[in-house]
């Protein structure tokens, strides 16, 4: 009996000295595992990777046009912004393939010939309740496209479109950095980023409720 009692004591003593280490170990395992899950696995799971229907080379096109971004991304006469070009603008040059790039051939065969619009995936797409006036920012405030859209004009290829499984919006809205921190103005496109810039630039804050920007400035 005594031996067994001693054994038990021994075990418990061992356990005592062991358990401190085990607790820490398990803490660390849990800690590291969740950090890995949160920082690495979660983002991988959160976004599905989508390829643009056609790969587009901005650099190549920038060389061909005279008017920079506005050559293709232009304002309509009523001040609204046309956004991503429609087929009819592309057809001006691409009635038939001008080069030998397989992407262009695909574009001509699949879309131009069939008169189908290209279902571009829009990195900066905002929810339906958002009203954004390009004219106010570009014309009145004199902002550059880069400020919000980044140096997309310098890309030779379209990056993968990462769609959030939960929200359905592009990763570019939250930003590539999962922590939500941003380095450049164009890293994020959430409402807070709009608001932050408005405050910084002394846009009149007209809300009675919040003393900040009124909701109807950007919502419809």
């Amino acid at each position: 009996m005594s031996t067994s009692e001693e054994k038990t004591k021994e075990v418990s003593a061992n356990a005592d000295s062991d358990s401190g280490g085990a607790i820490i170990l398990f803490f660390i395992i849990g800690f590291v595992a969740s950090l890995i899950a949160g920082w690495i696995i979660f983002p991988k799971l959160l976004y599905c990777q989508k390829k643009q229907p056609i790969d587009f080379n901005h650099v190549l096109h920038m060389e061909e046009v005279d008017d920079g971004c506005e050559s293709c991304h232009f304002f309509r006469e009523d001040g609204t912004y046309a956004g991503v070009p429609k087929l009819e603008q592309c057809v001006g040059c691409h009635e038939e393939a001008v080069g030998e790039d397989p992407e262009e051939v695909k574009f001509v065969n699949e879309y131009v010939a069939k008169e189908r619009e290209v279902p571009w995936l829009i990195y900066s797409k905002q929810p339906d309740c958002v009203f954004f006036s390009h004219a106010a920012h570009v014309k009145t405030a004199g902002m550059d496209c880069v400020t919000c859209h980044g140096p997309i004009g310098e890309s030779t290829s379209l990056k993968v479109y990462e769609e959030n499984w939960i929200t359905g919006y592009s990763r570019d809205i939250w930003g590539q950095n999962m922590s939500g921190l941003k380095e450049h103005a164009w890293d994020r496109m959430k409402m807070d980023d709009c608001a932050e810039c408005h405050v910084k630039n002394n846009v009149k804050q007209t809300s009675v409720q919040t003393k900040k920007g009124a909701c109807f400035v950007c919502h419809k």
Binding site: A22, G30, S34, I166
Partner: protein, 746 residues
């Protein structure tokens, strides 16, 4: 090492700490909150380039210019066209709802053929045209072209005229139009002025408007044009007096509302004429120089005839008129004074929206009042607006079969010796066709009309339709008539087609409009003009050669000639070769002719003993009562004192209930409304805005066709009333019917 409770907890705590330091909580919260705002089954309208496409609305005879806002190829909103001579930016409730008719579920999407069990079978256009042509061919080979009849919504414009031309080439005289108060007006103008014209009122420039029941701001004539004219008249301090038993919107907005015993409007006009003549207040210059029959006269045979002056002085003294009309003599006197002392007074009649014709005598009496003040063809008065003359096609050549057919008498008796000036008598249709036995009509075309809803005694009309072997509907919508048809050849709706728009009804605006396709046809439909041309071509022979045009568009372009370009560009033309409002009178005397006899009231149907009350219809801007059914937006605006649930609400004065021994109801209660023609369960709204003894029922409800947004709501007034023939014109002159309200048997 063993995982015990403590280390497990430690693992969890470590995990929690790590999670807290990872972006997961914040990001997940953010994403989930965005997710809660995503309602994938709520449509997100696609954005695109906004453009405006101008056209003309043809949902009513108003002829308003419209600007349709489009996003890429979707039409998203109809607005009034600024600068258009008819409506200058204004638009009515029906026009605004037009897109619900374009994109709505009531559209007939392809040609349909009724199957033996009453269902519908989709057929191709070739099959549809071939089927119609085959049946038409059979009828002709039997030598019975006159057994084809056609009901058209209007008589003006190229599409109705193509149908008329088809009827002529085919050999049938039985082309009928949906009647309106303009039919009564055109007979009046023919009789009194010898003019082949319609009446156009210049309310805008009038300074005193005496409206005998006309809903000048409830859709009479060209609705928006009348709204604007009314506002302009009031802005210039013009006076509007509304005379009718019910406090309609027009009455409510008028400077004065005078309730009158219904059906005595003609007597009132003559009573006012009496007072004006007696006090020497009439326009002596006009009456003396331009009229005939005012003073007593002698005819060719030497017989002396009583003139209008003597006639009204003898027969329409204020006491007598006060008794018939229920308007006291003092009111009559002051009304006569105000009318006579105004510099541009005008009297107008045609009840409600003017969709129903009326007693010619009443129209003549009212028109005589205008003549007394010289308000004929002058600023602020009534104009005889000649029928538009831009359609000048060569008469079609007819073969022997057609000639024989054309010589048969019309089935409705219009244009006969009895009713020489009446063009068609659709009110007789149900009786002539009958519900059993052999129908004189073997085949019927219906275009731009919904007679199975809009004609009085709808039950009999529907039975008559059943009795016709082949009914072909050209309707864009599955309306009551389309439902009763055997074949449907769906027309494009107005936003998908070209069509000329004749000058607007009821106003003196000389404008021809062009309705243009704003969007591509949404379904497999065909322009009714093209359909009739195709049918004619399929028949070949003289019928086919009467339609030499390749398409309707070619026909329209050719018809419009040099006007086409500016029409296409601007949407309307104001012809400078004005169908100049005729200043001359082409009556036998060459002058404006007064009539001094025969002013009888029209007796409505029903025995007072059994039916102590009078049921009258009322029109409202919020209910489309014509051949276009109410779109959902309009029905949404209907007040709950008009429609409650699926129950129609009738207006009754509280006194009517108090004085009745058979009726005990509170506001909103159910009751049974019966007339000699039918019965309906209604709810009663007790209103002080209506004369005791009268039951007022809204028109435009009680559809049995269309969609869930319209079908089964309320009762169709036309089911409770039958036509009463006007002795002078044969047109329907029923302004109401005797009725009874009783409690629901408990």
């Amino acid at each position: 090492m063993k995982i015990d409770r403590r280390s497990f907890l430690s693992f969890i705590i470590g995990g929690a700490a790590g999670t807290a330091l990872s972006p997961l909580p914040a990001k997940l919260t953010d994403d989930l909150s965005i997710w809660t705002q995503n309602w994938p089954w709520t449509p997100v309208p696609e954005d695109g380039e906004a453009i405006y496409a101008d056209s003309v609305c043809t949902l009513c005879p108003g002829g308003c210019g419209i600007s349709v806002r489009k996003i890429d190829d979707r039409a998203i909103k109809i607005e009034g066209m600024k600068g258009h001579p008819v409506n200058d930016g204004g638009i009515c409730i029906l026009g605004l709802s037009g897109l619900q008719l374009l994109y709505g579920p009531t559209r007939v999407k392809t040609p349909l053929k009724k199957t033996s069990n009453g269902g519908w079978k989709k057929i191709s256009w070739d099959e549809a045209i071939a089927e119609v042509a085959e049946n038409l061919g059979k009828l002709r080979s039997e030598g019975q072209p006159q057994a084809l009849a056609c009901i058209s919504g209007s008589d003006q414009g190229t599409v109705p005229q193509l149908f008329r031309r088809f009827m002529t080439a085919y050999g049938s005289p039985n082309y009928m139009c949906v009647p309106s108060s303009q039919d009564s007006y055109s007979i009046t103008l023919k009789l009194m002025q010898g003019a082949q014209a319609s009446a156009g009122f210049d309310i805008e420039n009038a300074d005193f408007v005496l409206s005998l029941g006309s809903g000048i701001i409830e859709g009479w004539g060209s609705p928006v044009c009348m709204f604007k004219a009314n506002s302009a008249c009031e802005a210039k301090k013009g006076k509007v007096v509304q005379i009718e038993p019910r406090l309609s919107n027009t009455a409510a907005k008028a400077d004065q509302w005078i309730p009158i015993n219904p059906g005595t409007e003609g007597d009132l006009a003559l009573g006012l004429a009496h007072l004006i003549i007696k006090d020497d207040l009439y326009d002596k210059d006009f009456v003396g120089n331009n009229t005939f029959g005012f003073d007593d006269w002698t005819d060719d045979k030497g017989k002396s005839c009583q003139g209008f002056r003597q006639f009204v002085l003898e027969n329409y003294g204020p006491e007598k008129v006060a008794e018939t009309t229920g308007i006291d003599a003092d009111t009559l006197t002051s009304l006569a004074k105000s009318f006579a002392s105004a510099s541009n007074p005008v009297a107008i009649c045609g009840r409600g929206q003017g969709k129903r014709p009326g007693s010619i005598h009443e129209f003549i009496a009212v028109h005589a009042l205008n003549a007394l003040k010289g308000s004929i063809n002058r600023k602020g008065g009534v104009w005889a607006v000649p029928e538009p003359n831009y359609i000048s096609w060569a008469e079609p050549e007819t073969d022997a079969v057609a000639q024989k057919g054309l010589q048969t008498p019309r089935i409705d008796g219009a244009g006969t010796e009895k009713y020489p000036y009446t063009k068609s008598l659709l009110n007789r249709f149900a009786e002539v066709v009958g519900s059993e036995g052999e129908s004189p009509v073997k085949m019927l075309f219906v275009s731009g009309a919904n007679p199975c809803f809009t004609l009085p005694d709808t039950g009999a009309v529907k039975a008559a339709f059943e009795n016709i072997p082949l009914v072909v509907s050209f309707s864009s919508y599955m309306d009551e008539t389309a439902k009763a048809a055997d074949l449907i050849l769906p027309n494009h709706v107005f936003l998908e087609r070209y069509e000329d728009v004749p000058p607007p009804a009821g106003v003196n605006k000389n404008v021809i409009g062009l309705s243009k396709p704003v969007v591509d046809p949404q379904f497999d439909t065909k322009h009714a003009g093209d359909a009739i041309i195709s049918v004619a071509k399929a028949l070949k022979g003289s019928v086919g050669s009467a339609f030499a045009w390749d398409s309707y568009e070619a026909c329209l372009q050719e018809t419009m000639g040099d006007k086409w370009d500016s029409l296409n560009e601007k949407g309307f033309v104001v012809p400078d070769t004005a169908p100049a409002c005729e200043k001359t009178y082409t009556t036998p005397s060459g002058k404006f002719e007064f009539f001094a006899a025969g002013y009888e009231q029209v007796t409505i149907e029903g025995d007072e003993k059994w039916y102590p009350l009078i049921l009258m219809p009322y029109d409202s801007m919020r209910l489309s009562s014509g051949f276009i059914g109410n779109p959902p937006f309009m029905t949404k605006t209907v007040e709950d004192t008009v429609l409650k649930g699926n129950d129609i609400v009738v207006e009754v004065n509280p006194l009517t209930v108090r004085e009745s021994s058979a009726l005990f109801v509170k506001d909103g209660d159910y009751a049974i409304l019966s007339t000699p023609k039918g019965k309906a369960t209604v709810r009663v709204h007790l209103s002080e805005g209506i004369m005791p003894g009268i039951v007022a029922m809204p028109t435009g409800l009680g559809h049995t066709a269309y969609d869930e947004y319209l079908a089964g709501k309320g009762t169709n007034f036309n089911e409770l009333i039958g036509p009463v023939e006007d002795p002078a014109s044969g047109l329907d002159a029923a302004w109401g019917i005797r009725a009874k309200l009783a409690n629901i048997a408990s």
